[in-house]
């Protein structure tokens, strides 16, 4: 956690850029008055002054320390206001909180990244981290899904990633549109035929709960070990330091013990996918 005598006060930040990704999703770039560094997979609480705060996993490069980006879907009262932000506006930020992806532990391994919907936000950050340390991994695969082609986040960036060929990328949509010649079907339909040793591989999964559930089941059937499946759990994180009680998963709090958990840690708990 960032050094902060009072763990509940936000650090002031200025909005530098607002990008519309899809009709319901925007990316906000901001600069905190005190630099905040984070590890990919950790989350921050963004404050709309006077209204409240909400948790987001930064979608930006962890190696950029003075600015940060969050990609936000309009779903509630805070995110609605986030969508109204303009360049120069003041927001607040607390964090980062919790545990991100243990990148050093992934060294020398084959890596499969599975993500969909707004789950692409943390994965964008992870992909940039992967690009910055490509030599660390034997192979990297990315399998991404979305409802429709027009709802694909970071479409241009992903086209760039595909062109670079450093990562083996395959995408799918639940429902095709004109001009889409890729796979149609949920993300589990593109998890077959990946050329890696599943029993030794690392899988990173991020997305809506239902997609996480079925992806995990599919990965297990392919031969991934419980302890090698990294799940980014979406719970009602608020205080960020394991006190307010809202994000409990079994004996853990998603905010301080997660949000990234390996499947073995949480598989015996109730209500994990809800």
């Amino acid at each position: 956690m960032h050094h902060n005598e009072n763990p509940y006060r936000p650090i002031e930040a200025k909005v530098l850029e607002v990008r519309t990704e899809t009709p319901t999703i925007k990316t906000i770039k901001f600069k905190p008055v005190e630099p905040i560094s984070f590890e990919t997979g950790q989350f921050v609480e963004i404050t709309i002054p006077g209204l409240g705060e909400a948790p987001f996993t930064p979608s930006s490069r962890p190696d950029v320390k003075d600015t940060m980006e969050v990609t936000v879907m309009k779903v509630g009262k805070v995110t609605e206001k986030v969508h109204e932000l303009k360049v120069g506006d003041t927001i607040g930020v607390r964090g980062p909180f919790g545990n991100g992806y243990p990148m050093d532990h992934f060294k020398g391994k084959e890596l499969l990244i599975v993500g969909g919907g707004c789950g692409l936000a943390p994965i964008r950050s992870l992909v940039y981290e992967v690009f910055s340390r490509l030599g660390d991994f034997k192979k990297v695969f990315y399998r991404g899904g979305c409802k429709t082609p027009s709802e694909f986040l970071y479409k241009k960036e992903i086209d760039g990633w595909i062109a670079k060929k450093d990562i083996n990328i395959k995408l799918t949509v639940d429902k095709g549109e004109e001009g889409w010649d890729g796979n149609v079907g949920v993300v589990t339909t593109i998890l077959d035929g990946i050329d890696m040793d599943f029993s030794q591989g690392i899988a990173v999964v991020c997305g809506p709960p239902i997609a996480m559930k079925f992806s995990t089941q599919k990965l297990l059937s392919l031969g991934f070990k419980d302890e090698n499946i990294y799940l980014s759990m979406e719970k009602n994180m608020s205080c960020g330091i394991g006190k307010c009680g809202h994000c409990r998963i079994g004996t853990y709090y998603a905010c301080k013990d997660g949000p990234v958990f390996t499947y073995d840690k949480i598989k015996n708990f109730h209500e994990i996918w809800a």
Binding site: R9, P49, M73, P208, N236, G245, H270, A274
Partner: protein
Amino acid sequence: MQFISKANLFKLLDALRADYDVYVPVKKGKQRFYKKYERPTDDITIGEVRAFEPLKAFFSFAREVVAKGFKPDVPGADRKPFAIVGVKACDLKGFKIQDHVFKNHDYKDPFYIKNREQNLIITSDCTLAIETCFCTALGIKPHPQENFDINLSETRGGFVAEAGSEKGRALTKKHASLFQEARSGIDEDVAERRDRVVKEVENNVKENDVPHQDLYKGMVEKKFESDIWEDEAKACVECGACNTICPTCHCFLLYDQKDKGKMERLRMWDSCMIKDFARVAGGANPRAKLQQRLRNRFEKKFDYFPNVAETYACTGCGRCISACPAKIDIRKVLKRLVGNAS
């Protein structure tokens, strides 16, 4: 062994007012409530049994400002500490949970820690049990044995006073003239009264058939799919009284408000019985059903806390029993959880 007369205790409280906001239990009708002490009054009730309010109210407040704008300082740092008098043994058990959450575990909460360091805790023996008392089932005796600054054991004309901390010892030394050497035989009087109250609580436990905590291990998990939850939740009106009144419940809601351009962040006690407690912005709710939330309440107290803090998050104070408008009785739920029937 030191003795303080009732008159001298009030002199001590008068003296404490220089450094503390002093709170004492006063009796109103059949209940005892904490009230700010200003002068000796007849309704002040040091002994008897626990107050209506949980002790946590003096350590993490029902509602407090936790941040002002972007300023890094901790609001309320200059507030006078509290001296809380007449705290009971069950109240002290609440510290095991509150300390774990706010003080001892991972991240520290500066608000709680300040109160914990600065507040003065003057406990007292229970001199009677009320119908809802079942502390002995949780392994607690109705007289404080540790974690107090000064404990008062009521006896004829006053109290046997025991200092239990450096702070308590310093105070009894500073005000030595108010204390006197206890007359011989007084410890037998206290021991006899303590035994009598223990028996009163044990009788309660027996009459209500409350299982002892030695039988709680794994009970929630074993009955996770049982119809106990639906059955018990039927009458629940989701008022959250059981949470706010509970000495171990610690959950809070952070919320922001803006007044005349000034931005403040507050926290307020929250209730896991309320529908949106665990709901995420996207709409997913792991505990959309009331029975799931009731089960979660018991899971947190009797499964989570023994796992992370090696203690059940219940003090046997019985506050939730009297507070619940639906008459959900924790003693009955415990009995059903431990029992063989589903």
